[in-house]
Assembly symmetry: C2
Homo-oligomer: 348 residues x 2
């Protein structure tokens, strides 16, 4: 494979496609469903509610501190399922490759996907490879669709936040967006900022163990924390007050944002979730979150109110109040490159 | 929307993304699952076997005689499910859009998807929109993933063909590939060749009604009939003899292939299936197929043999025999742009 490039006939459906599938994808994603090699994977599911989601990943650069487009695709899709409380089970992987892409690059991306999937306990059960002529795509785009089972009794969604809910977050904001941006712009900081990209299902499971009545969960990806909270406020027809002082942010991320004139409230995260939980459960949920490595810095950052329905109000450090709107315009093109921050997720 | 173009902030996750989703996608694909607007769609499924598949569509040109990239995406994904005997239920749609794409083009594609989904009886329950800078993608790429239920008692797959099976096809070969190629190359034929792109599940249901024991079904897309039959021969470890004279082909398609030096056995189809059925059922299945508009020209084109395992042998018009191999190289770049012709579908 060394030195080999992706050619158009890797996407022709013929011999070269077969060889690529056998030598790379089938081996890396090895499981009984995929290796049946039929037009669809046939899966057994218990009766009940199934969560289904899709996301395309077009991040630039494809390798960044803390991850790459492959691991990101798995984390992002797993998280879209987890945000409904669903246990992620099966993923599909659709690749659009640019002619001339070094096979070694594809191999690194695929192995990262395989590792992320193993870690998250999901199987990649179906896939697709398309190759377009040089210049008609940017190296590699990945679509990941996912399937998970929603346990009985859960009722989680952006429309279920209620006045009196506490708003929790599991850690610092803006890490992923700034990691990608600094890498892309060649910004040399003293300490490299790492993406927070990670699969959040295990953390969610711990939270649900102590509080199955969680009202809303969402991962603030594209559009950042501000956009995600606006979505919830609008879907649930509630107000949200946010305490600026309480929002965790790394000093270097805050510094890089200031340098670039970006508001960290709008910067993408890929390993963060916000939860709206009944006020009386907040302490228990926070305690449970902090027992998980991805929830070590979990904290309450705000509350849901009956007033100011549909709006997000920030209590600033110096005691003022300002309206926080949804992202307008493209603050960070192609940083996060997926989903949950859209209002119409499952139009993720 | 008139005259408006896709901008980067249509993919930012913020206000513009929301507006596009509400004004176009949510309206065109309108259903209760999508409009819940959470990170995943939550679906209810009966217990049992679920088929899951994915395909990306990168066809060039995006509009061609008989369809466009949107209707094609629905048909292709529905067919991947149908080839397992599964009743297609739910689709996801992931769009990668090039900055500057006229919104009107996107609207036409989306409406074609919605119409194709309605016709096939499937719901588009989750989606995603990404926008990349001008020149980093070619107008529009679509990923469609799909979910369907496999009825109890069916055992259909490329690995189940058996000596004695009849090989059936539902109509003429090469229509889609030549429709796209003629359009792309600006070839003016006396009669325009139309793509055969269509959803095949209703036809499959009719076939299964009279013969639940169908062994293998596959749609000869990328790589054409020759590649698909090679896959089945290899997966099932059987030989296949093909009767050239019996293979239906339109005169104008045959003529255009000759003109361009292409072998129609390797040209993509998007509304065709090949079925391996026990010999004693062949007459009944053919009769059932012919009662459906997409099976009017259904006919037997070959048989499965114990000899020559893994190979496909063509009995030529003049009585000779030649080995038909899998497609090597890229005969028709970006013509069909999807799946089933690959050996490792579900790596479609």
């Amino acid at each position: 494979m060394e030195g080999e490039m992706i050619q158009l006939d890797h996407g022709s459906g013929g011999r070269a496609t077969h060889d690529l599938i056998r030598s790379l994808f089938a081996e890396a994603f090895n499981n009984e469903f995929l290796s049946a090699m039929n037009d669809s994977a046939v899966l057994s599911l218990n009766t009940g509610r199934v969560a289904m989601t899709t996301d395309s990943y077009v991040v630039d650069p494809i390798f960044f501190p803390g991850g790459n487009i492959g691991s990101l695709a798995v984390h992002g899709t797993v998280n879209d399922l987890a945000m409904l409380g669903a246990r992620p089970l099966y993923l599909t992987a659709g690749f659009i490759l640019e002619e001339g892409l070094p096979l070694e690059i594809l191999r690194r991306v695929v192995l990262a996907m395989a590792a992320a999937a193993r870690e998250a306990g999901v199987l990649i059960v179906a896939g697709d490879t398309k190759v377009v002529p040089k210049g008609k795509a940017d190296k590699i785009f990945i679509n990941c669709s996912g399937l998970g089972m929603v346990p009985e009794g859960l009722c989680i969604g952006g429309q279920y936040a209620r006045a009196g809910d506490a708003i929790l977050i599991n850690g610092t904001i803006g890490d992923h967006g700034m990691a990608v941006l600094c890498k892309r712009e060649g910004l040399a900081l003293e300490n490299e900022i790492l993406s927070d990209a990670a699969s959040l299902y295990q953390l969610v499971a711990k939270m649900l163990d102590v509080c199955p009545a969680i009202h809303a969960l969402r991962d603030p990806t594209r559009g950042g924390l501000a956009t995600t909270l606006n979505e919830i406020a609008q879907q649930s027809k509630v107000g949200i007050t946010l305490d600026e002082q309480a929002i965790p942010i790394r000093e270097d991320v805050a510094g890089a944002c200031e340098l670039l004139g970006l508001d960290p409230l709008y910067v993408a995260n890929e390993g963060k979730l916000v939860a709206c939980v009944p006020g009386e459960c907040a302490a228990d949920v926070l305690e449970a979150m902090r027992t998980h490595p991805l929830g070590r810095l979990a904290t309450q950052i705000g509350a849901v109110t009956a007033e100011e329905a549909g709006r997000v109000i920030l209590k600033t450090r110096i005691g003022g109040h300002r309206l926080v709107s949804m992202l307008r315009g493209e603050q960070l093109p192609r940083i996060c490159c997926w989903s949950i921050s859209e209002p119409a997720s499952p139009w993720g």
